[in-house]
């Protein structure tokens, strides 16, 4: 029988056809038409039993053919009971790679897996669940709750022989907090875990002895600070309870301050460092603690952080020895600029004026707080302007130290301007004072110290290229504007230009030491900048231009340029480098925007930018890009090394027009912040799984809890096609042959 019907065809099954009803109908119609054709073509034959037999055989043969073409399928189903699975979850996070007593926790996983045997469903997890054993123990953060929930969904409705969890109990998900809260409140742990379908056995790895690991867990800085304003950096450190850690703050690789911190009973401590930034820009700091020999994770003993220092407003101190048109114009300009916070002090009365017969009660004058201004308050200013101010009558005490303070202030990053007048430069007797060492001109002229002959200053080659004296979009326009500006009333004569200084405007005919007499000179000294304007009639650049109907743009542009140059803000350079964030994690993508501007500070389009990113270990990543229509080029970078990275960029056409910045890459893997195994969490987890669960402590290698009765019904389904069954072909062949034989015997063709 099996020869005719094929192997394994049982009697308990269900017949179905693969063809749809429409196709099946068409097939039946085609069979009927074929039978009618047989009848029509044989109608000449005499009727009799042969003719009737032929038509019957044709009908049966066509029926068999239609049956075979309709795709008959024989389906049989059979159920059977299979043993429940043993499911194993292995923690694949980075904390499992921590070594205890010379052995990584992960090595214990192998022992436990060997205990369980090969017939298990194995999964690993950190922030997600994956089939198979962990390929490496580098996962960032383990989420026990998520892993168990995903597993429960996957085996929903099945009876499991058992579930095994292998972990150190360091959990970064919400489950640990839920378990702890429930335990502390005396509540029921049941319900915190989804039904697992089998008994849970928790194997703890690690925790046999206490880990020795000190770490800087975090540095709280807020990311930015205001210039010359104290900012606090708070570091959270961890180590052996009761120990004292020496915590150091470094800036740009140099230790700024160190403080001892006594750790509490939990092994934690906090320390604050106060810094007062004196320059605008991004600056790399690092908090670090010493690395002991047995420190489990030396990499977390330092924490780099970059602070972005911004200027709230430019704080200017204007000191004038005598109110004049010049001081008035400058005060109005500074006062009306919303980006400037101006503090003015005008000397309204000198000692000589005190005999004029007015009582001090009638006057609205206040004492000149020079000692406070030029000592404790000095660092709060970005720019100090001495406008026709002679210090001697007023600095009655400590003049040398106060002038030294100003010089030091410039050398440490401040800006200073002295403008001309009968109380300035040599006329103000500044020669030989500490202040003279930061001025861009040399004092101590041997001849006359002023000249009252009107003159028109001329641009020097340096002035033509310098942003401070730029007045137009082009050099020619700048030249034309300076040539048309009004004459000055006179100027202070000095001994010459100071070292490392530049004359931007010069006297058209007078010389000093063979060089044109400086009228406007600038200097970069130390970290600061200074400017000397040897006239007291710059107000004419405003007023006389206004008389011609050209407004006061030349005056405003001059002083705006001066402020911008004196501040030396990185954001005001022609090439600026701006990382999108100051602090990023290892592997996190950072967007670095390089902006290029021309001499008039307009965006440079299509300019080639070349630069490098320098890692802490000295590895360089070069880049080369063209700027877009807004003068910007974007570099994408993923730091792989912890520490401060420096970015430098410049125009390919110039080696001097450049900018730089810094950002910090932090390897703050939360798994490596707390390293101690958490047995309590694992016990709670086992308790939450119900009575049929167990906890195996460190070194406990007893077998897992198993449900021997667990099993599942497995339904086997067999589907066989009947089209190719030998009986079908045999029937069709016999019936068609019989029909044909009877047709010929009956005399039909």
């Amino acid at each position: 029988m099996s020869l005719l019907l094929g192997e394994g065809l049982g009697s308990q099954g269900e017949l179905s056809f693969t063809l749809g009803p429409a196709t099946l109908t068409a097939l039946v119609v085609a069979g009927v038409l074929a039978w009618l054709l047989a009848w029509w073509t044989g109608r000449q034959a005499p009727s009799g039993w042969l003719r009737r037999g032929e038509l019957l055989c044709w009908a049966l043969a066509l029926g068999v053919l239609v049956f075979a073409l309709a795709g008959p399928v024989w389906t049989e189903e059979e159920g059977r009971i299979e043993e429940g699975r043993l499911v194993v979850l292995v923690d694949g996070s980075a904390s499992m790679a921590v070594r205890e007593s010379g052995e990584a926790r992960a090595e214990q996983v192998e022992e436990i897996l060997a205990l369980l045997g090969p017939d298990v469903d194995l999964y690993s997890f950190d922030e997600e669940l994956r089939p198979g054993a962990p390929t490496s123990y580098t996962g960032r953060g383990s989420d026990l709750g998520l892993a168990i929930s995903t597993l429960a969904d996957r085996y929903l409705g099945q009876e499991l022989r058992g579930v095994v969890l292998i972990s150190d109990g360091i959990d970064r998900g919400p489950l640990s907090e839920d378990l702890q809260a429930a335990r502390e409140s005396g509540g029921d742990l049941d319900g915190l875990l989804p039904p697992l379908g089998g008994p849970l056995t928790v194997y703890q790895v690690g925790g046999e002895q206490r880990i020795r690991d000190s770490a800087v867990e975090d540095v709280l800085s807020g990311g930015f600070a205001f210039l010359r304003t104290d900012v606090s950096l708070r570091a959270v450190v961890r180590g052996q309870p009761g120990a004292t850690l020496e915590v150091s703050l470094s800036r740009e690789g140099r230790v700024v301050e160190s403080k001892p911190v006594l750790l509490d009973a939990e092994g934690r401590g906090e320390v604050g460092f106060t810094v007062r930034p004196v320059r605008v820009g991004r600056f790399a700091y690092e908090v670090s603690i010493p690395v002991e020999e047995d420190d489990a994770v030396p990499g977390n003993n330092r924490f780099p952080v970059v602070l972005r220092v911004v200027r709230d407003r430019v704080r200017v101190l204007q000191v004038s020895g005598s109110p004049s048109y010049d001081t008035s114009s400058l005060r109005l300009f500074l006062k009306e600029d919303p980006s400037v916070d101006l503090v003015s002090f005008f000397i309204l009365r000198t000692q000589e004026d005190m005999m004029s017969g007015w009582s001090s009660e009638e006057l609205s004058l206040i004492a000149f707080p020079y000692e406070r201004l030029f000592s404790e308050e000095l660092q709060t200013f970005d720019l100090v302007i001495f406008q026709n101010f002679d210090y001697r009558p007023y600095f009655s005490w400590g003049s040398e130290s106060l002038l030294e303070n100003i010089a030091t202030y410039v050398e440490e990053g401040g800006a200073f301007v002295m403008t001309g007048g009968d109380r300035s430069f040599d006329l103000g007797q500044y020669a030989g004072t500490p202040l003279s060492r930061v001025l861009p001109v040399q004092l101590g002229a041997t001849g006359p110290t002023s000249d009252e002959t009107p003159f028109r200053p001329v641009l020097t080659p340096a002035g033509r290229a310098h942003p401070l004296t730029r007045q137009g979009a082009t050099d020619a326009e700048t030249d034309a504007i300076w040539q048309r500006l009004p004459e000055m009333d006179g100027y202070n004569i000095v001994a010459g230009l100071a070292p490392d200084s530049a004359t931007l405007l010069a006297h058209p005919s007078a010389t000093v030491g063979g060089a044109p007499a400086p009228i406007l000179a600038v200097r970069e000294h130390g970290r600061g900048r200074s400017m000397a304007l040897m006239v007291d009639s710059s107000w004419r650049w405003s007023f006389s231009e206004a008389a011609e109907g050209r407004g006061n743009q030349a005056y405003l542009r001059f002083w705006k340029n001066a402020l911008r140059w004196l501040m030396a803000d990185p954001e005001d350079q022609r090439v600026t480098v701006s990382p999108s964030r100051e602090n990023v994690l290892v592997g996190e993508e950072l967007r670095i925007v390089v902006r290029a501007r021309d001499a008039g500070y307009l965006p440079l389009e299509g300019e080639r930018i070349v630069g490098t990113i320098l890692s802490p270990a000295g590895e360089t990543t070069p880049f080369e890009l063209d700027t877009d229509a807004s003068g910007e080029a974007v570099v994408l970078f993923q730091g792989q090394e912890q520490g401060a990275h420096r970015v430098e960029a410049r125009l390919s056409s110039s080696s001097t027009i450049r900018g730089e910045s810094v950002f910090a890459v932090t390897d703050r893997d939360p798994e490596l912040v707390e390293l101690e195994a958490r047995p309590q969490l694992l016990r709670d987890l086992a308790a939450a799984a119900g009575d049929a669960s167990g906890y195996r402590g460190p070194g406990d290698r007893s077998g897992p809890l198993l449900d021997a009765d667990a099993g599942r019904e497995r339904l086997d389904r067999r589907v066989r096609s009947l089209s190719a069954v030998p009986l079908v072909g045999l029937l069709f062949g016999l019936l068609a042959s019989a029909a044909w034989w009877m047709r010929r015997r009956a005399g039909a063709r």
Binding site: S322, P323, S324, Y325, D326, S328, S329, R331, L332, K335, E336, V343, S344, F345, F346, I347, L348, R349, T350, D353, M354, S356, W358, S360, E361, L363, S364, I366, A367, F368, P369, Y370, P393, Y394, S396, W397, G420, G421, D422, D426, L427, Q429, S450, E452, P454, M488, D489, G490, Y491, N492, D536, S537, W539, S542, F543, S544, A546, A547, G551, N552
Partner: protein, 256 residues
């Protein structure tokens, strides 16, 4: 602002002052005459008068009492004169109705006041609401169509630019307040109804040209203080409103 006096400072200054005085280089008075404070009197074809001696007296007092360097000789100009821009402090003393000022003069005066110039309108007519007062207000409204002339408050910087003064005083003392037009940190146009220059004016013999009523010489002294404040205010704008000054004056009880 005055230098801070300490006993130690005075002693050291007294000991060294006499010696140092002979050794100090000779002082220039600003760098060139153009930067010294000089008063420009605006003259129209009618309705104005010239009082050079009043301004000479005022600047003499400014030199004596303050650190400001002045050229006391006034200069007389018409409002259309481009030389106006060489003299940021100007006055117009009116005695009656002013003729219609040309558009060119208004445009120049407007630029002058907008870019740092200062104009003091002094009503010498002796009438609070006379022809000059009306002319001055019409001129102010042409110069600043969107900014009306308004009384200056009692705590205005002009009232404490050098002297502490309560109210305006001139040859007369009838107005309760000065008036002005304010642009940002400064009022570049100030109107006084009490003939300030009349109180300061002197004849060729050096005697006061006009009696001052009702306060007599005490009022003339107050007028001089107002004049000094006008000059200092034109140079320092709202400096006396800076917080450091206000706090210090309040601390000393000189301001409430």
């Amino acid at each position: 602002m005055s230098p801070e006096w300490t006993r130690r400072g005075v002693l050291s200054g007294a000991l060294t002052g006499a010696l140092a005085a002979s050794l100090l280089p000779r002082r220039a008075l600003a760098l060139g005459a153009g930067s010294r404070i000089r008063i420009a009197e605006l003259q129209l074809s009618s309705g104005t008068t010239s009082r050079p001696e009043a301004w000479r007296r005022l600047l003499y007092e400014v030199v004596q009492a303050t650190s400001v360097v002045c050229d006391p000789t006034p200069v007389s100009l018409s409002p259309e004169d481009p030389a106006l821009f060489a003299h940021p402090f100007s006055v117009l003393v009116g005695t009656g109705a002013l003729p219609e000022v040309s558009d060119a003069a208004v445009a120049q005066l407007s630029r002058y006041l907008s870019y740092g110039g200062f104009l003091f309108l002094d009503d010498a007519s002796g009438s609070l609401d006379g022809d000059f007062s009306r002319s001055a207000r019409r001129l102010a409204s042409r110069l600043f169509p969107t900014r009306p002339m308004a009384p200056l408050p009692g705590d205005h910087s002009l009232h404490r630019a050098f002297f502490l003064i309560d109210r305006p005083a001139g040859r007369t003392a009838r107005a309760s307040a000065l008036e002005g037009v304010t642009l940002g940190p400064i009022a570049p146009l100030v109107y006084c109804a009490d003939d300030l220059s009349g109180a300061l004016d002197r004849g060729p013999d050096g005697r006061d040209r006009h009696p001052v009523v009702p306060g007599g010489e005490a009022q003339r002294r107050e007028a001089l203080k107002l004049g000094v404040n006008l000059v200092l205010y034109s140079l320092t704008s709202n400096y006396k409103h800076d917080i450091a000054h206000v706090m210090e004056l309040m601390r000393e009880g000189r301001l409430e």
